[in-house]
């Protein structure tokens, strides 16, 4: 496929690897966080980690909307489906996220709840139009990439005066999460992790542009390189980060110029702002409550807000005691540091959210990296 295959070329990857090897100074240690699950997945799937020198370390960030969705939010969706008997529509990624009482959406479906996997919010809208006698709720999760489509679906429902469609909004924002990690990094004794630079979001940046990241460079003096989700994009971004560190620069650079501008997609930003406004605070799995880090539906569109329509209240629920998802999402621990990893927690039967989405650190490492940890022995 054009604009995909070229960015996975083996020879170019070897060239980039040689350049990183040549430019990374042996006396330094480079710790870069890739914020997005999409980058985590590319690094694991294409073996990018194996192409990096020992002293260039990638730390996985919390940029996986499925992984940061707290138990209490999934509980709300399950309550809607099982108790309020709504037709609950959501993206396939969310289906296996562990919730309270050993439940998940897929298990609730097995219990008889009407839960549908949709590809697009437009599919949920279509189900509402086709089933006027049913309440249809779309469980909307995702970062800035996924928010404008949800906004357009709500706007379309309003234009068509749909009476049976609402959205359980769990949309979260990228810049506050990066800021949160950087603030924590300043106090390592409280569990922060030292980071020398960020591989910045790809498709989130298509929507929001590179402008919102300029604060990090100014306030925290950390370099950010926005990168596409293909393996060569990630490698080029790592090379650009190595150069910034070597030269003592902390700038916002853009590797993904084929799709990201400084101001982003302003039409998408306008639609989002028309339908959503900021929540005071939102709980992230792993990060806890983060101020002004998520969106809710504006009161002008409250009939489409499932939280108000069904009078739902959020109850925080602690994670599985031995699950290390929290520390892994903050970049403090690696998947293999968790006792449950690969034993009782697997993609088929996940205990923690990082094992659910293919972009979660644990699932990515389980699928592509777990045999790397075992030394090769000749028989």
């Amino acid at each position: 496929m054009k604009y995909v295959d070229e960015f996975r070329d083996r020879e170019l990857a070897a060239n980039l690897a040689a350049n990183i090897q040549g430019e990374a100074e042996p006396s330094r240690h480079y710790r870069f966080m890739e914020f997005c699950g999409g980058h985590t997945h590319a690094i694991a799937r294409y073996g990018v980690a194996d192409l990096l020198p020992q002293n260039v370390q990638m730390i996985h960030g919390p940029g996986c909307p499925v992984c940061v969705l707290p138990v209490g939010r999934v509980d709300m969706a399950i309550r809607l489906a099982l108790e309020c008997k709504v037709m609950l529509c959501t993206y396939g990624d969310v289906m296996r996220v562990p919730a309270s009482d050993g439940l998940s959406l897929i298990r609730a479906k097995a219990l008889g709840a009407d839960i549908r996997i949709v590809y697009s919010p437009l599919d949920a809208l279509r189900l509402a139009i086709d089933n006027p006698q049913r309440e249809v709720v779309f469980l909307a999760i995702g970062f800035e990439t996924t928010t404008p489509p949800s906004a357009l679906a709500i706007r379309q429902a309003a234009q068509q005066s749909l009476q049976n469609f609402s959205v359980l909004c769990c949309h979260v924002l990228t810049p506050p999460a990066i800021m949160h990690i950087l603030d924590a990094a300043d106090v390592p004794e409280e569990g922060g992790v030292t980071i020398d630079g960020f591989v910045g979001p790809a498709h989130v940046s298509v929507v929001i542009g590179s402008l919102p990241y300029e604060r990090f460079a100014a306030v925290h003096r950390k370099p950010v390189v926005i990168a596409g989700f293909e393996p060569l994009d990630v490698m080029q971004a790592i090379l650009m980060l190595v150069r910034q560190v070597n030269e003592g620069r902390a700038e916002i650079e853009n590797e993904f110029t084929r799709a990201v501008s400084r101001s982003g997609n302003t039409l998408a930003q306008t639609v989002t702002a028309e339908i959503f406004d900021l929540r005071v605070s939102f709980e992230w799995r792993g990060l806890g409550e983060v101020g002004a880090s998520a969106l809710r539906i504006r009161s002008a569109y409250e009939t489409f807000d499932a939280e108000r329509r069904f009078d739902l209240t959020y109850r925080p629920v602690p994670d599985h005691k031995q699950c290390e998802c929290g520390a892994i999402l903050r970049g403090v621990k690696k998947p293999t540091d968790c006792k449950l990893f690969g034993t009782i927690c697997t993609p088929e039967n996940p205990m923690g959210s990082c094992m659910v989405s293919s972009e979660g650190s644990c699932a990515a490492h389980y699928s592509y990296g777990r045999f790397r940890d075992i030394p090769v022995v000749a028989i």
Binding site: V4, C36, Y91, S120, P201, A259, N265
Partner: protein, 71 residues
């Protein structure tokens, strides 16, 4: 979750809808977020919506960057 793929626009159906081709697979998507799109353009498709456009010249420039030899 933010998975999105570059796809070529093959037909404009109305002001807000287009058909795209992705490696031979055709699909109807919304172009409400990129109304300026034309047939032949590449768009980035996410959950049934084009969220942005792809700049072919910038893509070429980036590929050249990958091929640069170490100084």
């Amino acid at each position: 979750m933010c998975l999105a793929l570059p796809a070529r626009v093959v037909a404009l159906l109305n002001l807000e809808t287009a058909t795209i081709d992705l490696g031979g697979i055709r699909k109807k998507i919304s172009i409400a977020l990129v109304p300026e799109v034309q047939v032949g353009d590449y768009v980035i498709v996410h959950v049934g919506y084009a969220i942005g456009m792809l700049d072919p010249e910038e893509a070429e420039a980036t590929l050249k960057l990958f091929a640069e030899l170490a100084a």
